[in-house]
């Protein structure tokens, strides 16, 4: 039902832009942007909302009672959900292209760019998930962050300021746009562009894992793990 609502919202935005005689690049950009937003929200929710759900259901504690570590288990979970969400992303993208009649270049290399871009989103998910283990009210910020993703995704179209190197998903989304709209391949990007993408994504992921680890310790100290 949510997906249907999002799809209707997309159609309103797309045909609204078309009625204002927006260029092909803007129209195609709205398709990529919408699909990426859905993918990012799903990936982020998997970590933050998924963790809260586990805490509520009492299964989170069970995940700590294993010979493995929780971080390893959540990494498997992220990998599994990424595959599932990627299939949804491609399906959604296909439907959007057929309905709008705007066809994008689907270079298989895009999966690499998407994977790298989403690492920063998973990092944010770990930060929010970790914080919500200790500060239960943080979950209210989840919805705000979902809308913040829209701003981050459109940021490269608003400004070419260096800020897009530092904030999550903006730079990656710009590279994905150039591949899908301008038809670039992985070899067309410079080493510097890849360096920014790697540094940005891994920095958010590492910070996310570090904060999650701190919050996990605090939750164990305060007896909050699994409490909701």
């Amino acid at each position: 039902m949510t997906m249907v609502g999002i799809f209707i919202l997309f159609l309103l935005v797309f045909f609204g832009l078309r009625s204002f005689e927006a260029g092909t690049e803007t129209l195609q950009g709205s398709i990529v942007g919408f699909a990426m937003w859905i993918f990012a929200v799903m990936a982020y929710s998997e970590m933050s909302w998924g963790l809260l759900q586990e805490a509520r259901d009492g299964t989170l504690e069970q995940l700590y009672l294993t010979p493995s570590t929780f971080r390893r288990i959540s990494a498997y979970r992220v990998f599994g959900s990424f595959i599932f969400q990627f299939i949804l992303f491609i399906t959604f993208l296909g439907i959007m292209m057929v309905v709008t009649g705007e066809y994008l270049s689907l270079n298989p290399g895009v999966i690499i760019l998407i994977s790298l871009t989403l690492l920063s989103v998973y990092g944010l998910g770990y930060i929010m998930g970790g914080l919500s283990l200790v500060f239960k009210k943080v979950q209210a910020g989840n919805q705000i962050l979902q809308f913040l993703f829209i701003l981050l995704l459109v940021l490269p179209t608003i400004t070419d300021h260096q800020i897009i190197y530092f904030v999550p998903i903006s730079w990656g989304n710009l590279m994905i746009n150039r591949m899908m709209i301008d038809g670039l391949s992985l070899l067309d990007f410079t080493l510097f562009e890849y360096l920014i993408l790697f540094a940005n994504s891994f920095a958010y992921l590492i910070v996310g894992l570090f904060i999650f680890s701190l919050m996990e310790k605090a939750a164990k100290k305060r007896g909050l793990l699994g409490h909701y």
């Binding site: 259901d57 009492g58 299964t59 504690e61 069970q62 995940l63 700590y64 009672l65 294993t66 010979p67 493995s68 570590t69 288990i73 310790k217 164990k220 100290k221 305060r222 007896g223 793990l225 699994g226």
Partner: protein
């Protein structure tokens, strides 16, 4: 309370808890002491009941044992492995059912839950399959193996939660309120099964429950906690001996002479009714009961009925809590 000797540590012990203390820090408030320097151990193959009113510190202790709560002080070892410093290794041989019917994935089916938890503990599905089939059969879940857990009744969900803990194949089990909210029949089944786990399955179990009947029926030993301290740590029978005055009502035919009996036993009440004598006798121990019956027989007194007025586990529990002192 039985203190642990150094020599006892790890020798045939599934669990050793020594001087465990847990104080929860509070934001702008005084810290709360939930567990106040407790020590106890659980032998391999033993089933121990953990009793206490709400807020006694039972759940905190259980969560410290699982490594889910970090102790402020003290040592916890599971099969000789330190829980605080080597949590992962220590809990690798431990599974827990915390708070009844939680602990399972409501969107997964019965079978998927079992398969998931087997894999979570590193077991292959091929290896776990015979046990999955056995647990489904044993807990009457066969017809519901493809049903999402959320659609099962509460009793079924609790059975599934216990099955999911068992499919991990660990030797040490922590059960927090395993029969909470179950109907009489299911509770009985669950109790019988838990007993079987130690007698046939070689498992070691620490079981917390508010239901005294469960503890009395299932456990060999009971640890009673209140306000973070252990008040009693003894076998169910010993506790009964400590708290029971072995009170009996004897109904005798006729009105026999009781002077000798009065000198020998503590008779708290005598009254005569419809040609019968009713005696309330307080005995020192259960052996005295047989002595008294023999005495009556030797005196040719016809015994019509005997009623045991012993306290049940619930009354003993209340006595321990009200005493507030450690029971030796």
């Amino acid at each position: 309370m039985k203190a642990l000797d150094e020599g006892e540590k790890g020798a045939g012990k599934a669990l050793t808890v020594k001087d465990l203390e847990k104080t929860y820090p509070q934001w702008r408030k005084e810290p709360t002491k939930a567990v106040d320097g407790i020590s106890f151990s659980v032998d391999e193959g033993e089933i121990v009941g953990f009793l206490g009113p709400n807020g006694a510190g039972k759940t905190t202790t259980i969560k410290c044992i699982c490594g889910l709560v970090e102790p402020t002080k003290g040592d916890i070892e599971i099969y000789g492995i330190d829980v605080v410093n080597d949590t992962r290794k220590a809990v690798s041989n431990t599974s827990a059912v915390l708070e009844g019917n939680r602990n399972i994935y409501w969107r997964l089916t019965t079978r998927e839950n079992l398969e998931f938890f087997a894999r979570l503990h590193g077991r292959s599905l091929k290896e776990a399959e015979p046990e999955i089939k056995d647990l489904l059969k044993r807990f009457d879940l066969q017809d519901r193996e493809d049903m999402p857990a959320r659609k099962l009744s509460r009793g079924m969900q609790q059975k599934l939660a216990l099955s999911c803990a068992l499919i991990r194949g660990t030797d040490f089990l922590l059960l927090d309120e395993p029969t909470l909210g179950l109907d009489v029949k299911t509770s009985k089944e669950m109790r019988a099964f838990v007993k079987q786990l130690t007698s046939n399955g070689g498992k070691t179990i620490l079981l917390s429950s508010h239901d005294m009947n469960v503890v009395e029926d299932v456990c060999e030993r009971v640890i009673i906690m209140n306000e973070g301290k252990i008040l009693a740590n003894d076998s169910v029978n010993n506790l009964k001996d400590i708290f029971n005055v072995h009170l009996y009502d004897f109904i005798l035919k006729g009105e026999p002479k009781l002077s000798e009996l009065k000198n020998k036993y503590e008779i708290t009440d005598i009254h005569y009714e419809n040609g019968k004598t009713k005696l309330r006798v307080s005995l020192k121990n259960s052996d005295s009961f047989y002595e008294l019956v023999n005495h009556l027989q030797n005196k040719n007194v016809e015994l019509e009925e005997v009623k045991n007025l012993d306290k049940n586990m619930e009354e003993i529990f209340m006595d321990v809590i009200e005493r507030k002192g450690v029971i030796n």
